[in-house]
Assembly symmetry: C2
Homo-oligomer: 455 residues x 2
């Protein structure tokens, strides 16, 4: 069914920041205080439908992201939805081109802005078809999936023809996987809410027990406090979760390459599935070296939260640097680029375990992981579940009593934030940010920087 | 001589854009219209001195850069200059840390903003010492150079101790190289002004002849128009410059990896020194593959203009992907990170040929290349000279009649733009941007995008 003609008539961009640092959510060794934030774009249309897209930031600099979205968003005003969706791969390439490309080709803040704009188009498209985003893509033919991807820079690893062949091989069994998705059996959950560095030992123990009673077996914890402190902390976590619990640790880019290898060797007896972000996300060769060195110790390597584009993932896969592809649904250029990374990961046989440790991330990734299972890999992987701020969303993510993500059912890409949140948390006009504590947080340019005075 | 105590009291950030696209300056296959632009920061001090720093953009999105600079710049207000310069490596790490890091660690727009802030500190420091920036660094002890660098993520290739050893080995002959620098014999120039794609054949011929009469032997040209057109264009350039002319071509990330190899093989008879930016700047393994494949054809590979940080350069060197390191003086985190890339390049024996194809770039790079020669590599390389917009600067770059860059003599980092430029070209308030043509350019969100309607 073709969508009826819909024209984009205008847009709004809003700076939304939740003061998550007050609860120590989002703390890690590189950032002692993070405020989950969105550069939040809405496209208005002549059909009454609104297309919503956002990218995630961590407090300071969210205004930079909003400025970038304001720069790109006008490109689609006056355009019909069908003129954009007829070839979404080309639409991606065009939004990534031009003068603005020089500042940061497919990287950094500009890539986040590109994602927000394309997310809004995908959201609008899915709403126009009255389908959740994952189902819109699940109902594509292989040719339609390929047309959504910009294959530039990928052809040495994945051509459109190879992608078609992979997608066609999954077609015969797709209906069965759609059935599983509709029964909430597509995407098993794992838990990280227990692991933020700011939490006390007691709080971590309590959160773990609560998670286990909900059926979780996978747990991810922040590390990097120093070997003694980490061994103590991870040791009691291992005690609480028992031998059958699967533990992962994350140090958020803390180490140099050889330092990561040495440190992790000393944690081998704790039986960790992988070390996440051991070093700079740009260090492809470094990740490959770390993985090779830790393999004899039974420890894998994962990264992706800060990987900006398909070219970096291509190389991480070529270099055999990863045991899990932790793509971030905002860091890449929306569903377009995510599809290319899902395909490459499937080709190399590496599971996709999306990063979803922030507000709204689970909402987006429950679509992404469902698409991976239903359309691309055909295999169940796992998806991080963090339990904060779901109440802020019109179509909140949730998990089942047996530890699966609930497959989204509302039309769209689950991007819409409840209007009431803006009254409190839009920055700087919301009531929280106008309060004394809010003003103090906003006016501290060093907030979250290790080693500096922060208020 | 220690500088007297100077305190930073405030700052201004201005959006400066020259309408260079009107002269077809800055055109390439990925961007059909570029406006050389600065996010321009000035720190005011209680001593009357002003520290100036900027990063380069290409028109649209320069406001994103300015917003990013405004976010970071407050961190140094109220600080004394000596508290920042006592350990510039640590100062770099601190400005790259905190909430803002999450959006784009040491990449993209945030890295450009980091550069602008640190450039302003270096400029202020050199002015306080009444020395041109290159001389400030040339007068450092090896220990002082090492203290200016953040070695995070580098230790698998370069440790502080190894850097010290390299720098000490150059100390004995440094005075002689300083003498050469003072005689304008440190940095040979090469020419790209003839090569922008927007120029007609006649204009290219005329510009080449003029450059040759000024003593230039190296010429770089844009390519990527298609094999037939490129062969025709490069063929007549080869005719004009003769066998002794050294030709380089640049396609600004146009191709996929295997496409680059196939295309360039067909240009082998034109005897090209290197192909610049054959593919995505993020594709380290791709550049290595292209270089290996083209080596038998006598064609080298270069990149760097879009390389964001020391970790990417580290890997390009580890992977033996480069014949020339084309670092960009704004893309990296100022002199701090440039020093680390100079050291790694020297360690791997690859010449540094900085990118300086835009307004103000030659002004900065004449310091950078002088530092490379005097302090780090001890070897003469070459530096791009483009001849537009020098008149806009308080301390303009220039070349000697025998084809060397004039070594800067004015105190500071040659960042200061003449105040009169802002009246015309500050955006959007300047007279040019308020004019009919200026408004039309600003209001075209597709400007420069290949295949789109642009005005």
């Amino acid at each position: 069914m073709a969508p009826k003609e819909i024209t984009i008539t205008g847009f709004t961009v809003r700076d939304l920041r939740w003061p998550t640092s007050l609860d120590n959510i989002g703390t890690d060794p590189m950032n002692l205080a993070g405020e989950n934030s969105f550069g939040y774009l809405q496209y208005q249309t002549d059909a009454g439908l609104v297309g919503t897209g956002w990218s995630f930031a961590n407090g300071q600099g969210n205004d930079v992201l909003c400025t970038a979205i304001r720069s790109l968003a006008p490109r689609f005003v006056g355009r019909t939805l069908s003129s954009l969706t007829a070839n979404m791969g080309q639409t991606q390439r065009k939004i990534s081109s031009g003068q603005i490309r020089f500042m940061s080709p497919e990287r950094g803040v500009l890539q986040l802005a590109t994602n927000a704009v394309l997310n809004a188009v995908w959201d609008l498209w899915a709403k126009a078809e009255a389908k959740p985003l994952w189902r819109l893509v699940a109902d594509f033919t292989p040719e339609e999936v390929v047309r959504a991807i910009d294959f530039r820079y990928l052809s040495d690893v994945l051509t459109p023809e190879q992608a078609l062949e992979m997608l066609r091989a999954q077609e015969g069994t797709k209906a069965e996987r759609i059935r599983l998705a509709l029964e909430n059996k597509a995407v098993p959950a794992y838990n990280t809410s227990a692991g933020w560095l700011g939490h006390s030992d007691e709080k971590v123990r309590e959160l773990l027990k609560s998670a286990m009673s909900q059926g979780f077996r996978h747990f991810k914890l922040k590390a990097g406090l120093g070997l003694e402190a980490d061994r103590k902390r991870l040791g009691f976590v291992r005690e609480v979760v028992g031998d059958e619990g699967i533990l992962m640790v994350d140090v958020n880019q803390l180490w140099d390459v050889d330092e990561a290898i040495e440190y992790m060797k000393h944690l081998a007896d704790l039986k960790l599935w992988f070390i996440e972000e051991p070093t700079s996300p740009d260090d492809i060769l470094g990740h490959a070296k770390i993985r090779a060195a830790l393999k004899p110790y039974g420890i894998g390597v994962a990264t992706g939260e800060h990987i900006n584009n398909r070219v970096m993932f291509k190389q991480l896969l070529q270099a055999e640097a990863l045991d899990a592809v932790q793509l971030d649904a905002c860091r890449l250029a929306s569903v377009n680029e995510i599809l290319s990374v899902l395909l490459m990961s499937a080709k190399f046989g590496v599971p996709v375990v999306p990063h979803s440790g922030g507000a709204g991330m689970v909402e987006l990734c429950s679509h992404v992981s469902t698409i991976d299972f239903v359309v691309v890999s055909g295999k169940k992987s796992i998806l991080e579940y963090t339990d904060h701020l779901h109440e802020a969303f019109e179509a909140p993510a949730a998990i089942t009593p047996d530890g699966f993500h609930v497959t989204p059912t509302a039309p769209g890409y689950s991007c819409d934030v409840k209007e009431a949140e803006f009254g409190k948390f839009e920055c700087p006009s919301g009531t929280f940010w106008q309060s004394e504590i809010g003003q103090k947080m906003l006016n501290d340019p060093w907030r979250g920087v290790p080693g500096e005075q922060t208020s």
